[in-house]
C-alpha cells in the first residue's frame, strides 16, 4: 500500500476549510524551452514558483474496464485565459501558439493546498502531453491532454532485402519474432517419469508439437549456409533435444525434427539464429501406421489403435499372452519422398512386466506370408515406460519411401519372442526415416566450353577449355522450433535471478516496457508493498501455488507495444497502466477476494453521494474455457482448461479427470492405499459428491479409523472446518493455550489474518501475535511481540484430533515443537490442493501408494488431484496433491439455477503454455464472473489520491442507511472490498472525486 500523496497533503486537503488551487505547468520545448505556469487562483508556492491566474480544468477521467487489460491513457482538458504570459514582452498567450510547438508539450497538473509549507507536498494528479490544442478564441485556449504515448512504437522488425539481402521472396515482410518464455515441447506425462528424457524419440515418431515458426533468411544457395532467424534478440536457448528443444522442418502434415549435428546455434546479441549446410542437414520423418491389420493372422493386442497415436504417450495397446493377446500388428503406409533416405529405424515405447520370461520382438510381417527375416528383440521386464529404437532393415523399404511395401506388403508387428504368459503395454510404435531433405534447383549444373583462349595464347580447338558449373540449389521449407526466449541480465534486474529465463508475466511486461517501450526502469513500480508493484504481482499471480504463473509470448505479428502489452495482460489476467500520479507503470492482477489496500476505510461521513447496483445476470459467466498451448504448425490449441455445470478439466495432466467436481463412486474411485512404517493400509471412502473440506474430512476419518490414532491429517487449501481442523495450540512460558479459528475457505493471506486474530483472542498470553504467508516459499510465519512462544509438534498438541497446525504447515518431527518469537512453518502450503500428512514422530516412513497400491485402479487419486505415482513422504510428512481441485461445477449448477445458463466465455490464450497458469486463469475468471457483482458509485472529498485498481472498503456505519445488497451476504459493508475502476477527479471549484468500484 502506498499513496502518491504525502501525509501532509492529505491532512491539509481533507481539512474542512482547505483553500485548494489547481496548478498547471506547461513545458514547451520546440523551438526553445519555455515553461508556463498557470493556476485556478494566482499563487506563489514555496518552491519559488509563481503561478499566474487563468486556468480552468475539466475533470480528469481515468478508467479500466472490468477484467480489462488497462493501458488506455488518462485524459484531461485545461483552458488557459488569453492574457499576457509572464514570459512575454508583448502580445498574449495566443501569440505563443505560432511561436511554439504545442503538440506534445508536457503538461503537469497539481492539486495544491495553500496551507502546505513545502512544494514536495503538492499532489501531482496528471502528467501528459498536449494531444490537441483545442478550441481557441479571444477569451483563451483549450488544451486536450493525454498521458504519454511515446512508448507505443511498432514492432517487431521485419525481414527485407536491406537487413537480410539473401532472404528468399517468401520471407519478405515477415516479422522477426520477439520471444518471451519457455517454448519447450509439451512434457511427457505420467507414467513417463521424465518430462523430456524420451521426448526426442516421441518427436521423431511424429509427435512434434507446440513449436513456433523460425524465419528462413538464407536458403543456402551456392556456398551459403541456410540461416533461420529465431528471434530479433538474444535468447536463452534454441537447440537442446534432451530438454524438449528441437528444430523441425515441416513434413507431410507433421513436424520432422532436424538432426542437431551440423547445426550452429547463435543465441545473441542482436538476433538469435541457426545455420547449417543445406546439403548435409539430416531430418527425421515418422512413418505412422494407418490401420490395424485385422485379417490374415493379424493383430490380437488389446486397444491396438492406441499404439498408433504417438501424440498420446499415456495410453497404450496391451499384449497379454495369458489371454492370447499375442501380437500387435499395424499397417504401414507408403509415403511421398521428401529426400534421400539415409536409414530407417523403428521406435517402440513400451512397458514390460517384471515376471516376463521372454523378450519383446519387433519385425515386419507380410499378411499371409509370415514374418520378415530380421527381427529385433529386447528385454521386456522393465516396469517403467521405456523406448526401444533399432534399425529397420533395408529389405523392408526402398528409396521410393514405400514402407508398406509394393508387391510384398510389410506390416509392423510387435510380439514376444516366445512364452505363454508375458505382458507388455505398447504406448506407440512407429518407423523413423533419417533423410536428407530434398532441395530445389536454382540453376542447373552444366559444362561450359570457354570460347576464349587464355590471355596471350591462341585458342586451340583441339583442347577446348571446359568448366564444370555445379547446380545451384536451395533448401525450401518451413521451419519451426521450441526455443527459450529472453533471459535476464547478469544482475537479475527483471527476475531477481541473474541470467534467468524471463517468463513470469509481470517480469515479461516490465522487461518489454523497458526494452521495447524504452521506458526507464525506474518508471516501472517494483517496490515491495508499493501499490501496483510488478514484483509483488508475481506473488499474487502465483496464488499460493508451488510454481509461478508463466507466459510464453511469441510476438511474431506486426503490432504495437500497447497491443502486445494488452495481450500479455489479458492472458495473465492482469491490468497494467501508467499512473497519472507518479508517472510509473503499475501492475494489478485480477483476483477475487483482494484485500483492502487504500489505507482509509471510507465512512458514510466521507461520502457525498453513494449508490450501488449489481451486474446484470446477462454479464455473468459460469462456463469458462481457456484454450492454451498454441501449435503454430497446426494452427490449433493443443489443450484447454475448462469448467461448466456439466464438466471440467485441466488439459494436459489427467485429461479425462473432472478437476472441479469431487465425486467418490463406490468401486470406481473410493480407495486409498498407504503404508505407515511397515504396515500397509487401505481405506474406503464413502460414495458421494463433496465440498472440498468435507472430502478431506471423510478422507481423514477413514484413514484414522484404519490406523486407530489421530496422527494422520488431511485438508484442502487453507479451509478451516469447525471440529475438523480449527484448533491451534501454542505454549507461552510453559502454559498451554489453544486458539479457535473461525470456519471458512480462506486465502493464504486470509488464513494468516485469521490465525493472528484467533491467537490474539486468547486471554492472558502476554503476547501480541501476527502471522504472514510468503508466496515464494509458500510458508507461514507466526510471530509474537512480548516474548517467545512455542508451537508444539502435532504429536504433542492437545488439540491433535482437530488441529489447525497442519493448515499452516506446522508439522514438526519433534513432539516438543519449536520456540521463538518468530516461527516459520516446516512445510510449504499450497492453495486449492488436498494434502495429507502424519504427525507421528516415531514412524520412519509414510508412503502414499497412488501408483502401486493394491487398489490403485480404483484409487481416489483423480479426485484428490494426485498423479498416479507413489509418494514417499518420510517422517512427519505433509504431501500435497499434484493438481488443484475444487467444486466449481456444483457452484456453476447452483448459480445457473439462480441466474439462468449463459454462454461460454472462451479465452484463446496462445501465450499460455503452462497447465497451472491456464487452470489458475480459468478459476480466477470463473470466480470473478460466476455471479453478479455489486458495484458502488460515490463522490468523496477524501480520496484525491485514489488510484485505479486499488481496493477500498467501507465502514459499517453505512449499514443502517444503505445495507450491503449481495444475495446471501450478512448485509454489512464491513469486510467487503471493492476494486476501483473509474475515477473522475474534479479540479475546481469542486475538488471531489467520483468513483466507480466493483466488488473485488
Amino acid at each position: 500500500m502506498s499513496s502518491p500523496a504525502t501525509a501532509a497533503f492529505l491532512s491539509a486537503f481533507r481539512a474542512y476549510d482547505a483553500q485548494i488551487v489547481t496548478l498547471a505547468k506547461i513545458e514547451l520545448s520546440v523551438p526553445s524551452a519555455r515553461t508556463l505556469r498557470y493556476a485556478t487562483a494566482e499563487i506563489n508556492t514555496p518552491d519559488g514558483s509563481t503561478w499566474q491566474y487563468g486556468l480552468i480544468c475539466d475533470p480528469i477521467r481515468a478508467s479500466i474496464d472490468w477484467l480489462g487489460p488497462g493501458i488506455s491513457p488518462a485524459e484531461a482538458t485545461i483552458w488557459l485565459a488569453n492574457r499576457r504570459d509572464a514570459s512575454q514582452s508583448s502580445g498574449t498567450l495566443l501569440n505563443l501558439r505560432s511561436a511554439f510547438l504545442w503538440q506534445n508539450a508536457i503538461v503537469t497538473l497539481y492539486i495544491w493546498v495553500t496551507s502546505l509549507q513545502s512544494f514536495t507536498d503538492a499532489l501531482q494528479v496528471f502528467r501528459g502531453k498536449v494531444s490537441k490544442p483545442g478550441k481557441t478564441d479571444r477569451e483563451g485556449m483549450t488544451l486536450n491532454l493525454l498521458q504519454d504515448q511515446s512508448w507505443n512504437s511498432q514492432l517487431p522488425p521485419v525481414v527485407d532485402k536491406t537487413n537480410y539481402p539473401d532472404s528468399p521472396d517468401v520471407s519478405q515482410g515477415l516479422p522477426v519474432p520477439i520471444l518471451y518464455g519457455d517454448f519447450s515441447a509439451p512434457p511427457m506425462r505420467a507414467p513417463w517419469t521424465s518430462a523430456y528424457g524420451s521426448k526426442k524419440d516421441q518427436e521423431d515418431s511424429g509427435a512434434g508439437a507446440g513449436a513456433v515458426p523460425y524465419i528462413l533468411v538464407d536458403s543456402g544457395i551456392g556456398a551459403s549456409k541456410v540461416k533461420l532467424v529465431v528471434a530479433c534478440h538474444q535468447v536463452t536457448d534454441i537447440v537442446d533435444r534432451a530438454n524438449g528443444r528441437s528444430v523441425f522442418i515441416a513434413g507431410d502434415g507433421v513436424l520432422d525434427p532436424l538432426d542437431t549435428t551440423g547445426i550452429t546455434e547463435t543465441l545473441g546479441g542482436s538476433e538469435a539464429s541457426l545455420t547449417f549446410d543445406d546439403e548435409t542437414i539430416i531430418a527425421f520423418a515418422p512413418v505412422n501406421e494407418i490401420d490395424v491389420r485385422a485379417a490374415g493372422g493379424g493383430n490380437t493386442a488389446t486397444n491396438p489403435r492406441r499404439a498408433m497415436d504417438v501424440n498420446d504417450e499415456t495410453s497404450f495397446a496391451s499384449l497379454d499372452q495369458s489371454t492370447t493377446k499375442n501380437e500387435l500388428q499395424l499397417i504401414l503406409p507408403n509415403l511421398s519422398p521428401r529426400g534421400r533416405i539415409e536409414s530407417v529405424e523403428f521406435v517402440v515405447a513400451f512397458k514390460g512386466n517384471a515376471s516376463n520370461t521372454h523378450n519383446l520382438r519387433v519385425n515386419a510381417f507380410t499378411p499371409g506370408g509370415g514374418a520378415g527375416g530380421s527381427p529385433t528383440t529386447f528385454a521386456s521386464t522393465g516396469t517403467t515406460p521405456a523406448i526401444q529404437r533399432a534399425t529397420w532393415p533395408t529389405g523392408y523399404w526402398t528409396q521410393n519411401w514405400d514402407f508398406g511395401g509394393g508387391g510384398t506388403i510389410f506390416d509392423i508387428r510387435v510380439d514376444f519372442a516366445g512364452g505363454t504368459a508375458n505382458k507388455a503395454s505398447i504406448y506407440w510404435v512407429a518407423l523413423v526415416v533419417k533423410y536428407r531433405p530434398q532441395r530445389s534447383v536454382v540453376t542447373p549444373g552444366a559444362i561450359v566450353v570457354n570460347p576464349l583462349a587464355p590471355r596471350g595464347h591462341e585458342r586451340d580447338p583441339r583442347n577446348p577449355q571446359k568448366v564444370n558449373v555445379g547446380a545451384r540449389l536451395r533448401l525450401d521449407g518451413q521451419f519451426y522450433g521450441c526455443p527459450k526466449g529472453y533471459k535476464d541480465d547478469g544482475s537479475g534486474t527483471f527476475t531477481g535471478s541473474a541470467s534467468s529465463l524471463i517468463q513470469r508475466p509481470p517480469d515479461i511486461m516490465r522487461h518489454f516496457l523497458v526494452t521495447w517501450g524504452l521506458i526507464s526502469g525506474s518508471d516501472v513500480e517494483t517496490g515491495a508493498g508499493a501499490t501496483g508493484s510488478f514484483v509483488d504481482a508475481r506473488d499474487v499471480l502465483r496464488n499460493e501455488q508451488p510454481s509461478d504463473a508463466k507466459l510464453a509470448c511469441w510476438i511474431g505479428e506486426r503490432s504495437t507495444v500497447q497491443r502486445v502489452l494488452q495481450k500479455m495482460a489479458e492472458q495473465s489476467g492482469m491490468a497494467v497502466y501508467l499512473d497519472r500520479f507518479a508517472n510509473k507503470w503499475l501492475a494489478f492482477p485480477w483476483k477475487p477476494g483482494a484485500a483492502e489496500d487504500y489505507g482509509w476505510k471510507l465512512s458514510y461521513q466521507d461520502l457525498m453521494a453513494f449508490s450501488h447496483d449489481e451486474f446484470s445476470v446477462v454479464e455473468t459467466r459460469r462456463a469458462i474455457r481457456v484454450k492454451y498451448w498454441y501449435d503454430h504448425f497446426r494452427s490449433k490449441y493443443l489443450y484447454e482448461a475448462f469448467v461448466n455445470p456439466a464438466g471440467s478439466g485441466q488439459g494436459i495432466s489427467l485429461p479425462t479427470a473432472r478437476d472441479q467436481r469431487l465425486v467418490i463412486a463406490t468401486g470406481v474411485n473410493d480407495k486409498f492405499d498407504w503404508k505407515s512404517g511397515v504396515t500397509t493400509f487401505a481405506a474406503t471412502l464413502a460414495a458421494g459428491t463433496y465440498a472440498p473440506i468435507d472430502l478431506a474430512s471423510e478422507w481423514r476419518s477413514k484413514v484414522r479409523a484404519q490406523e486407530v490414532d489421530n496422527s494422520k491429517f488431511t485438508g484442502w487449501g487453507f479451509s478451516i472446518k469447525t471440529g475438523f481442523n480449527d484448533l491451534f495450540d501454542i505454549e507461552v512460558s510453559g502454559t498451554p493455550f489453544q486458539a479457535t479459528l473461525r470456519p471458512g475457505d480462506y486465502t493464504a493471506e486470509g488464513a494468516a489474518i485469521e490465525l493472528a486474530r484467533a491467537l490474539n483472542a486468547i486471554p492472558s498470553t502476554g503476547r501480541t501475535f501476527s502471522a504472514s504467508y510468503d508466496h515464494p516459499t509458500n510458508k507461514f510465519t507466526a510471530a509474537a511481540v512480548g516474548g517467545t512462544f512455542k508451537i508444539p509438534g502435532l504429536g504433542g498438541a492437545p488439540g491433535i484430533a482437530s488441529s489447525a497446525l497442519p493448515v499452516f504447515g506446522y508439522n514438526f518431527s519433534l513432539v516438543a515443537g519449536l520456540t521463538g518469537t518468530s516461527i516459520t512453518s516446516t512445510h510449504a502450503r499450497y492453495g486449492d490442493r488436498f494434502y495429507i500428512g502424519d504427525g507421528d514422530g516415531n514412524v520412519t516412513t509414510n508412503n502414499f501408494l497412488w501408483g502401486t497400491g493394491a487398489n490403485a485402479a480404483t484409487s481416489c487419486a483423480d479426485v484428490v488431484g494426485s498423479a498416479h505415482a507413489d509418494v514417499t513422504g518420510g517422517i512427519c510428512p505433509l504431501v500435497h496433491g499434484d493438481f488443484t481441485r475444487g467444486d466449481r461445477e456444483r457452484t456453476a449448477q447452483t448459480l445457473d439455477g439462480y441466474y439462468d445458463p449463459r454462454e461460454e466465455n472462451q479465452i484463446s490464450a496462445d501465450w499460455i503454455r503452462d497447465e497451472l497458469t491456464a487452470v489458475e486463469l480459468r478459476d480466477r475468471i470463473f470466480d470473478l464472473t460466476a455471479r453478479p457483482r455489486v458495484q458502488v458509485r460515490f463522490v468523496s472529498r477524501r480520496v484525491p489520491d485514489l488510484r485505479l485498481m486499488q481496493v477500498i472498503e467501507f465502514q459499517n456505519d453505512l449499514d443502517p442507511i444503505n445495507p450491503y445488497p449481495g444475495f446471501g451476504s450478512d448485509g454489512s459493508w464491513a469486510g467487503k472490498t471493492f476494486r476501483v475502476l473509474e475515477v473522475e477527479q474534479q479540479l475546481g471549484p469542486d475538488y471531489s472525486t467520483e468513483v466507480l468500484a466493483v466488488e473485488a
Binding site: N44, Q52, Y53, A86
Partner: protein, 262 residues
C-alpha cells in the same frame, strides 16, 4: 469616513511610460525572477506578474518609471501584491520633474504602509504635483522578502466629494464551495482571493460625479477605487453598465455596480 474616489487612468500602463530599471546610466538594476520580469509592471493586467528576486532584509530597492512627459499626479498605489516569502515591505513614493536623473534629487510624496496586513492593494494620496518620473522605494523589514505584484499605480484620483447616496452596498464574498456531508458537516473549499461587489447609487448627481460616471462607463480597463472607509480596490464596472435615471430636469440619479478584481 472619506469620500468616494476614482482613479481612472494608471499612467504607468499608458504607452508613454517606461520602466527605467536596468537601463543603465545610474538607473537601478532589474530586480526580478524570470519570467516574471519587471517589464510586466507596464501591463494593465493585474495577473501579469512581476516577481522580485530575493530582497534582502533591511535593504531598500528602487523601482523607477519615466512617464514620458510631465503629468499631474496625486496618488500612488500597489495592486495585486502577494508575498511569496517574508513579510510585507514599506514603500515610499518619490518623484522628479524634468529629465529622468536617477542620481538626482527625488522628492518624497508619501508612503504605502499597509501591505503587512495581508492586503492585496494599498495606496497613498498626496497633494497633486507635476511629475515626469516616479520612484518607488521598497524597504524590506527584518527578514528577506520575495513578492509578486500585478502593477504599481500612479495617477490622479478624482474625489467625488461625497460618499454616495444611501443604500450603497459593498458585498465581499468568497468563491468557496460549501459542500454538505451526510452527517451535516460542511466541507468548505476556498477558491482563491476574496471577491466583492459594490453597488453605488448616487441621486441628484452633481456635475463632477455625473461627468466621472459617464467617462468611467466608456473605459475598457479597470479602475482604482478608494472606498469611503479608506480601502482601495481595483474594480470594473459590471457589464460597463450604468443606470441613469432622470429625476427631474437637469438632475439625474445614477446607479453603478462594480465588481472587484480579486
Amino acid at each position: 469616513m472619506g469620500n468616494l474616489k476614482f482613479g481612472l487612468t494608471n499612467l504607468l500602463t499608458q504607452p508613454g511610460a517606461v520602466l527605467k530599471n536596468g537601463t543603465g546610466g545610474g538607473a537601478p538594476p532589474l530586480i526580478e525572477t524570470a519570467p516574471y520580469v519587471m517589464a510586466n509592471l507596464l501591463s494593465s493586467d493585474r495577473y501579469t506578474l512581476w516577481r522580485t528576486s530575493t530582497l534582502l532584509a533591511s535593504t531598500s530597492y528602487n523601482v523607477d518609471f519615466d512617464l514620458g512627459s510631465n503629468q499631474s499626479i496625486n496618488t500612488g498605489a500597489m495592486q495585486g501584491y502577494r508575498p511569496a516569502s517574508g513579510a510585507g515591505p514599506f514603500v515610499d513614493v518619490y518623484y522628479q520633474t524634468g529629465t529622468y536623473t536617477p542620481g538626482g534629487t527625488w522628492n518624497f510624496l508619501g508612503s504605502i504602509v499597509n501591505l503587512l496586513f495581508n492586503l492585496r492593494d494599498d495606496y497613498v494620496e498626496f497633494g497633486a504635483v507635476t511629475a515626469r518620473s516616479v520612484r518607488f522605494v521598497i524597504t524590506v523589514g527584518g527578514s528577506n522578502l520575495v513578492f509578486t505584484l500585478g502593477k504599481f499605480f500612479i495617477g490622479s484620483v478624482t474625489d467625488l466629494l461625497g460618499e454616495h447616496s444611501p443604500g450603497a452596498t459593498y458585498a465581499p464574498f468568497s468563491g468557496r464551495l460549501e459542500t454538505p456531508l451526510p452527517g451535516g458537516a460542511v466541507v468548505l473549499t476556498e477558491q482563491g482571493d476574496e471577491q466583492g461587489e459594490f453597488t453605488i447609487p448616487w441621486n441628484f448627481a452633481p456635475a463632477l460625479v455625473e461627468s466621472l460616471f459617464l467617462t468611467l462607463q466608456t473605459l475598457r480597463s479597470t479602475q482604482l477605487m478608494i472606498w469611503p472607509d479608506g480601502h482601495v480596490y481595483e474594480v470594473f464596472l459590471k457589464g460597463r453598465r450604468l443606470v441613469q435615471t432622470r429625476a427631474r430636469q437637469a438632475s439625474r440619479d445614477y446607479e453603478l455596480v462594480f465588481g472587484r478584481a480579486a
